[in-house]
Amino acid sequence: MFEKNLLNLLWILPFLTVLFSIPIKENSPNLKRFHLASAGVVLLSSIYLLIQVFQNTITNPSSQIQLLYETKLNWLNAISAKYFIGIDALSSMMLVLAAIIIFTGILATWRLEKGQKVFLGFFQILAASVYGVFISFDLVLFFVFYEMEALCMYLLIAGYGSGNKDYGAKKLTLTLAIGSSMILAVFLGIYAETGTWNLIELSKIALPESFQYYAFPILFLGFAVSSSLFPFHFWSPAGHSAAPTAVSMFAAGVMMKMGAYGCLRIAIYLMPEGAKIWLPYLLIFIAFNVIIGPFIAMRHKDLKFITAYSSISHLGLIFLGLAAMTPLAFRGAALQMISHGFLTGLFFATIGMIYSRTHTRDITQMGGLMKAIPFIGVGFVIAGFAGLGLPGLSGFVAEATIFIGSFENPSPLCRVITILAILSITATAIYILRCANKMLHGPLVISKELLPKTLPEEKFIIVSYVICLIILGIFPMPFAKLLDSSIYPIYMNLIR
């Protein structure tokens, strides 16, 4: 019962935080403390839930989807939508990821001088939306949470971003809206076909094959928009480069995973036949992400552009895992979601810290920052290493699992793209090292006085991410087993 209430609290708490923060005076230090405390509570509860789920999954393994702490209430009777939330292995891990990124995101805006109240308020709504996405198992509820972020994303980026912020914010918001429109259309179709929005019930119903044939690509691509799959990736560079640090962290760390999560949890789970028909063709798009993405990153000078294209290529790997349709590849994709969440969070956090000091993101105008701000520099390098798949950090575990898993798919196209993907890890190394070398190494270009020392909260952010990356990199087994319990039912649906 306690866990059940806790689960409900996860998405309600951010809203309550916003509500209660209204009377707090602008620029009072209590404001951010209050928000941080709330995010901290959510973080702790999500970790607690993860542990609970872990114990439960280990003690009663099952081939069915194990939904814990369900709450099922009647909601919109007219369309028989229910308020149906619960948690399983995959969602519990995504929750922890989201909670960490939200928590650190609030820390990353600790020194925001103007408009903190509005920023944090909207940021909490973003938080509520992702928590909601990961715990809702009713399609309407899911969509409500999924689309909610459009409410705040534009204002957060256009109001607090940098550079061409209005353009970037619009591009991001609208492209994401295209995706969610496609999702909504298919959800409605599913409802019209079956008369239910309940994900668990739907997973037991086989949708008509002709319906799956038309609906799957729309749904999959709809989700893939927010995961910046080619040809819907164009929002990512523009949006990330404009977004403020916390929002970049959120967008790349959590929001982009929401799409992949949806692809796995809903698109592939509910429409296995469609997946079998379409995913081999979608591999062409995926190839763009995986193979061309790093090359584009090589050619950019703006840190955020580089990171955005790096995200694009890493998310391509997630999709490679999904498209390979083997349990191992699915697990790799899920691991990559989490791993990339942490590493990109760290990336954008460090980039934000660097930008706040140098006021430029052009790597050719920096140099030798390692001398002045070694802590942040090390953080960046570790994120880079995780990105290029260094063993011991989470990226390697995920990528290796994806590669091994997707190689198990005997289809020629999948093989070719897997092989090319494996070979393209060199390209990843090239742009990451180029970036680190230009920016951190070499002689110091900017005078040291202009580069203040690393602040305590920045240290905290970096350390927490590095710990996550290392834990996942060194002890992947419990997480892998946990994820398997969620992924196995999806795979069973696929081969049924």
């Binding site: 919109l76 007219a78 909610m148 459009a150 534009y154 496609m182 909504l184 019209a192 038309y214």
Partner: protein
Amino acid sequence: MITIFPDILILLFPFVMLSLKLFLKVSLKTQENFAVGYFLVVFVTLNFILLGQNHFYLSNWKIDSFGIFMREIFVLSSLLAISLSHNYFNSSVSLKPKLLNFSEFSASVGFAAFGGIVVVSANDLLTLFIGLELATIPMYALVAWNKRDSEGTEAAIKFILTGSVATAFELFGFSYLYGFSGFITFPEITNAVATAQVSPLLWISLLFIISGIGFKMTLFPFHLWAPDIYEGAPTPVTAILSVTSKAVAITFLTVLVLGPLHSVQKEISPFLALLAGATLFVGNLGALSQSKLRRFMAFSSISQAGYILIALLGNTPNAKYSIVYYLFLYTFSNYLAFFIFSVVGKNQAETFSALRGLSEKNKFLAISLLIALMSLAGIPPLAGFFGKLQIFTTAAENGHFFLILFAVLNNVLALYYYIQVLKSAWIDKPEKEIALSIPTKQKIIILILTLSVLLLGFLPFLSNNLSIAFL
């Protein structure tokens, strides 16, 4: 007896208002308070009516659940419009002279509401037609209410001339419908449509009727008047036009399509689907690059008309339910937006640039504006989303997937232009400082509307109450 009571109250309202002015000569303030109070009473009374039953008065005056909810919407819209007009009668707003003749104004609003009620209660073509005219003719006058503002009268002239052409269309349509069925009462027409061989006479009558009503509902391509008229009219009138007028039109269509023409709904649906798709697309396109708020709202409401038309593709109880539900939420969102515009446009023209710096001047208004516009754009968890979801679900049940896909993709365009407004309010810095003041009363109304838009969709209260009545 209580069932007919609200109708009588609304019917009496104009007379009472006129009497207040002519015989009692009470002050403007009293008149305003009285009008608002009167509609509040009617609204409350309406809520006491038992749902789920069909009542007939004078044989042809039909009161059913749908009718009651539509009454609530008309009353609500009138209530809000009259509160919105408060500023406009007391001072010059938006650089235009102040309005005069409040009692006649509110009487006209009352007449229009009654016209809507006639439409929804009608059981024969003639009553339907008169109701429609009763709802429309006051609008012509209301647009021209500000005689000292040449834009207003000019808009009214355009409105009434194009409107008369549309009336001619309608009359033609009715004449053919009459010619097809031989009767003007609904039961007989229903009979004729259901039993007789469906002939082109029916289709041409439908073509004319829908073209005529398309004018009032701003369907493509009969919507061209809307931007000019919305822009020229005083803001409260624009609000009524966008809500009451549209509600009357969709009621008219519902009464026809889901009533006598129910058995040929399947044959009409492609037409309706095309109309809906074209309307919402054109509305969205037109709104993309506007700079005047009321003109912008015109296009926005054109596209909303397209969305609401989609509901007519569904099965009867669901379609009616969706329309009512959507109209409720749309009323709240739309009026919220207009209230904010009227506050912002107090001392300046109602353009995008008037909104600049709103977030710094007044957070409350800025957030309300965000909520209103995002609700109109259909972003969850705000009310507008649930209205649209309901409509789409209704249409999906009859398999109109491609229309739905088209409509939801159009939402992206809609989001774009609502964001444009938000950009003015939240991002852009003001060009010149113009003080903003909100009277307490308006503040309360805005607060109530904001909360309604915020919660009415997500909380199942409204939706489930409505669904009990319909489903």
